[in-house]
């Protein structure tokens, strides 16, 4: 049975959480033994996972900084997880203290933690909601109190959509957000994936550990990720391997970057 949106979520510390595993991979201590156990097992099979996590976080930083240069001052961070370091509001408000951010996550612990950290910051809200339900998310007071939907807003889906299967209609979810946004708004998106034939047996094994203990994943190739930008004009260089998106230095490119297991892109909602 579907849980009504206002019914309380389950808090089961016996199960690892996506947000806390992610925090551990980024070097945080907002996690429990069960989360670290899964992270370690995954890292043993595929040490690159840690670097991958860092790259998604770095893409977030580069994308937000890019958006700030384009004048965007409103952000919706979907699947924001545990606020480790280098969070969207820190990046944005360092440039413009008036920048506003709404964090959205389903994990009640991540949300509680975020709220306690952000207490007193009038330009940040934390919403506990299922990001797959754009209608409820966009109807929430957290969104409507803080954001001005007549002005451009950047919707961030960082390291998110590999947790959303095709059956769950990611295009429809994105459209749900896109249709509420003013022209000139943006979608920043990154997710794990390979081009056809690149997945190695080691990666498959690591994925299966993760899927067994945490959650299912849906990997997509660059063409599939590009399709997710329906209704957006892709900003140069389009959908590329994560390190290749607006690299900050020569180390972000090269052999390792070329094989990186994940794609990212930034799209701008077309003017009507």
């Amino acid at each position: 049975m579907e849980r009504p949106s206002w019914a309380p979520g389950e808090i089961d510390l016996e199960r690892p959480s996506v947000a806390r595993v992610w925090d551990y991979l980024l070097g945080g201590a907002h996690n429990f033994a069960v989360d670290r156990d899964v992270a370690q097992k995954t890292l043993e099979m595929m040490p690159e996972v840690r670097g991958g996590a860092l790259q998604h976080r770095a893409f977030l930083r580069r994308a937000v900084r890019y958006l700030l240069t384009k004048g965007v001052r409103q952000f919706i961070d979907l699947g924001s997880g545990i606020p480790t370091v280098g969070n969207v509001h820190e990046i944005a408000q360092a440039v413009d203290p008036a920048a506003r951010v709404v964090y959205v996550d389903l994990d009640p612990v991540a949300v509680a933690h975020s709220r306690s950290l952000l207490e007193g910051n009038e330009r940040v809200r934390v919403l506990q909601a299922d990001v797959r339900d754009p209608v409820s998310v966009l109807a929430s007071p957290e969104m409507n109190d803080l954001l001005d939907f007549r002005e451009p807003i950047a919707v961030l889906m960082i390291a998110l959509l590999h947790f959303v299967s095709d059956e769950e209609d990611p295009l429809g979810i994105i459209a749900g957000y896109r249709d509420r946004l003013a022209p000139g708004s943006y979608l920043a998106l990154s997710q794990s994936g390979f081009e056809a034939g690149e997945e190695t047996p080691e990666i498959r094994a690591a994925r299966s550990v993760y899927e067994r203990s945490v959650t299912r994943t849906t990997l997509r190739d660059s063409a599939q990720v590009t399709k997710l930008f329906d209704g957006f004009d892709l900003v140069e260089p389009g959908v590329v391997r994560l390190p290749e998106w607006h690299p900050e230095g020569p180390d972000d490119e090269g052999i390792v970057a070329k094989a990186f297991p994940g794609f990212a892109g930034l799209g701008r909602k077309a003017q009507r």
């Binding site: 206002w6 806390r20 907002h30 429990f32 860092l54 930083r61 820190e90 612990v109 933690h113 230095g249």
Partner: protein
């Protein structure tokens, strides 16, 4: 999110030489490469390099400082953690890189004093890093645990709130809600349901759902219940009655839903019960109003037809049924003269008397509208049952009805139909009762008439005839036969009577008695009579041409309605002219009543015809009531004595003295008035002989000839016979 990286730019008053600074920068680059990627640091590579260069310069300053202190090393370790260089490899790589490369980069390899100082700073850096990381880790662990507690509190608060909401919804709902387990044990009921049924929660908990069965429950209610309990359906709706604690009944709309556990097994049943008693009673009242006559309170036409329909649908219950279709006689007069109010009160009293006289199982009195009532008797044994009912009703209505000082006598006419239900329909029954009521009226009112299929068939035939007559005339289905009028004295044919016949395509050859009366009713007699007149005159003209002085006149019957037709004289004249027939070759026969009982106009028409030279005969003389004094003044030439008087003269051996005397008197009367006399219905030689003896002038009848085609007359005139 609270940490702020220290990006302070070092002041330029560095005591270090440019060479040392260059070495420090070179070391910082190596350091950055060694530690980047071990944890997430929210800086670009350039920012990381700058940050590490600052720390390197701080370290180098400490290395050369006087007096030497290890505190900066401690500070550097702490700052690494602040910048989130928290990866497990960071410290190891840093310490190793310091030992391996720093002095070489500074160009101080082999300087034991610096080597010693560096070792001390490495130790301090490690301690500072360890301490900061430990604090950070503990803080983050505490933060995440606090977040868990917050989230749990939040979840519990929401759970409590949601529980409170559900509880409020349950207790405050205006609709009755009850929950029972799958065995039917009632677990909880809300206030609305307690109020509805009049039982407390504790009392309700003593019950099983099946104890709430009501004898009027539709079978489907409990069949669906069994299916729901078995998990075969998830919910159903039904209309259901409940007994209240005080013995009253409650009509409800019930929705029963199945609640399943996580494995899909039936767990609870939830009933939502809405009290619709008021609506039900209102519906009953509306239904009553829709089915009853507001004036008399009797069932109305709709209810009657519904009941009658049911009688036919439940044919197994009763084999026969009967109807009395009743209509007050002269009600319109009462209504018109005394007013509708009196009329209405009269109807109320009549309704009351009907209801009073007809009571009991299987009997229904209904007001059909106006002053029409109907009585339905189900399961009658035969016609007599209904006749008894009708007699009772007529008797009951005999006593005068007193209304507002008026003493009103009413009577009613009743049509009765009683028959087996098989082979008939409710519509047949109604129609036949209606027809029979009409008969009762036509037969004189204040009586009942019993449906008679033969009478009905006759009437239907009459109706069919009258309906088809106009076309029959157009299609030439009528023809004329002629019967000779014979002078008794010498057996000469002096005239012929024209008799119209109808060759009906369905009923065959029809005599005038079958259709003349109908033609009179419909008015078709006028065109038909005119047609016969023309036909006869044409024939008379032919005979005149053929037989000269020996040609007979034609005698044509004139119906009452024709005699009153203002066009009569003109029609006759025109036809005579067109046929070029001398008027004295035409005789018109009228009945006594047509001549006697009329006003002046027809008489004038007769005079006009008489003056024209047309002969006038009184047909069937002696059967009506002739005013003999008046007779003297009438323009009449001939009396035709009705055939009924010939009966007594019929036998060869003896004659009836009365009939004989009557005929003799009629002949004398006619002769006294200078009228000719024709005897009709002469069938035997004895009759002809006696009539001659009595002085009768002319005879007509089978004894001389039956009516036949004009050719027969030709033969007679030629003396062929």
């Amino acid at each position: 999110m609270t940490e702020r990286v220290d990006h302070r730019v070092r002041d330029d008053r560095s005591p270090l030489s440019p060479a040392v600074l260059a070495g420090a920068a070179s070391f910082a680059r190596s350091w950055a490469t060694a530690v980047i990627g071990s944890s997430y640091v929210p800086m670009t590579r350039a920012e990381v390099a700058q940050h590490l260069q600052d720390l390197t310069e701080m370290l180098v300053e400490a290395l050369y400082a006087s007096p030497f202190r290890t505190a900066p090393g401690y500070e550097i370790g702490s700052r690494l953690v602040d910048a989130h260089f928290t990866g497990t490899d960071t410290l190891g790589r840093t310490v190793q890189l310091l030992g391996d490369d720093l002095l070489a980069e500074l160009g101080a390899t082999g300087d034991d004093r610096l080597q010693s100082r560096l070792a001390a700073l490495q130790g301090a850096l490690s301690a500072g890093y360890a301490r900061a990381l430990r604090e950070r880790t503990l803080a983050e662990q505490e933060a995440i645990r606090a977040a868990v507690l917050d989230a749990r509190d939040q979840a519990e608060a929401m759970l409590r709130a949601s529980e409170a909401r559900f509880r409020a919804m349950f207790t405050e709902a205006a609709i009755g809600i009850g929950i029972a387990d799958i065995e039917g044990r009632i677990l909880d009921v809300n206030q609305a349901l307690q109020d509805m049924l009049g039982f407390s929660v504790d009392e309700m908990r003593q019950y099983n759902v099946r104890d709430l069965m009501h004898p009027e429950d539709a079978g489907s209610v409990w069949r669906l219940y069994d299916q729901l309990i078995a998990g075969e359906c998830d919910h159903y709706r039904a209309e259901k009655r409940f007994h209240r604690a005080d013995g009253e009944q409650v009509w409800t709309h019930l929705t029963l839903s199945l609640v399943r556990d996580d494995h899909g097994e039936p767990q609870y049943q939830v009933a939502m019960i809405e009290d619709v008693t008021d609506r039900h009673l209102l519906q009953n009242r509306l239904r009553y109003q829709a089915l009853h006559d507001p004036l008399t309170g009797l069932p109305n036409r709709a209810l009657f037809l519904e009941r009658l329909g049911r009688v036919f649908n439940n044919r197994g219950k009763h084999l026969r049924a009967g109807l009395c279709y009743l209509d007050l006689d002269g009600f319109k007069v009462i209504n018109d003269s005394l007013g509708h109010d009196i009329g209405d009160q009269l109807l109320v009293e009549v309704g009351r008397r009907l209801d009073h006289s007809v009571s009991g199982e299987g009997k229904l009195v209904a007001r059909m509208g106006g002053d029409e009532f109907v009585i339905l008797v189900e399961g009658s044994a035969g016609e007599q049952d209904i006749v008894d009912v009708a007699d009772r009703v007529l008797t009951e209505l005999e006593a005068p009805i007193r209304i507002a000082g008026h003493e009103l006598s009413v009577s009613a006419s009743i049509g009765i139909v009683e028959r087996q239900l098989s082979g008939t329909t409710s519509a047949d029954l109604m129609r036949d009762a209606d027809i029979t009521l009409y008969w009762a009226k036509a037969d004189g009112k204040a009586r009942w008439a019993l449906y008679d299929p033969e009478r009905n068939a006759r009437e239907v035939a009459r109706f069919t005839l009258s309906a088809t007559m106009p076309r029959a005339l157009e299609r030439g289905e009528f023809y004329v036969e002629y019967q000779p009028l014979v002078r008794l004295e010498d057996s000469t044919v002096t005239g012929v009577e024209a008799l119209v016949r109808w060759q009906h395509p369905e009923f065959g050859r029809l005599a005038p008695d079958r259709f003349i009366e109908l033609a009179e009713e419909t008015g078709l007699i006028v065109p038909l009579g005119r047609w016969v007149l023309r036909k006869a005159c044409e024939e008379a003209r032919r005979w005149l041409e053929e037989f000269g002085d020996a040609a007979p006149f034609v005698s044509v019957n004139l119906a009452v309605r024709q005699s009153r037709d203002p066009e009569l004289v003109r029609d006759v004249k025109r036809i005579l002219d067109e046929c070029a027939l001398p008027p004295h070759h035409l005789q018109l026969e009228l009945t006594e009543s047509a001549i006697m009982g009329t006003a002046d106009e027809p008489l004038e028409a007769l005079r006009a015809l008489c003056d024209m030279g047309v002969r006038i005969a009184i047909d069937d003389f002696g059967t009506g009531y002739s005013n003999l004094a008046y007779l003297k003044h009438l323009p009449v030439h001939e009396l035709k004595i009705a055939g009924s008087f010939m009966e007594g003269l019929r036998a060869e051996n003896e004659e009836d003295p009365v009939d004989s005397q009557i005929v003799a008197t009629l002949v004398q009367l006619a002769h006294a008035l200078s009228l000719g006399v024709t005897a009709e219905g002469v069938e035997t030689p004895a009759q002809a002989a006696r009539l001659l003896r009595l002085g009768c002038d002319t005879g007509q009848g089978w004894f001389f000839a039956r009516p036949g085609p004009p050719e027969n007359i030709d033969s007679l005139l030629r003396g062929d016979l």
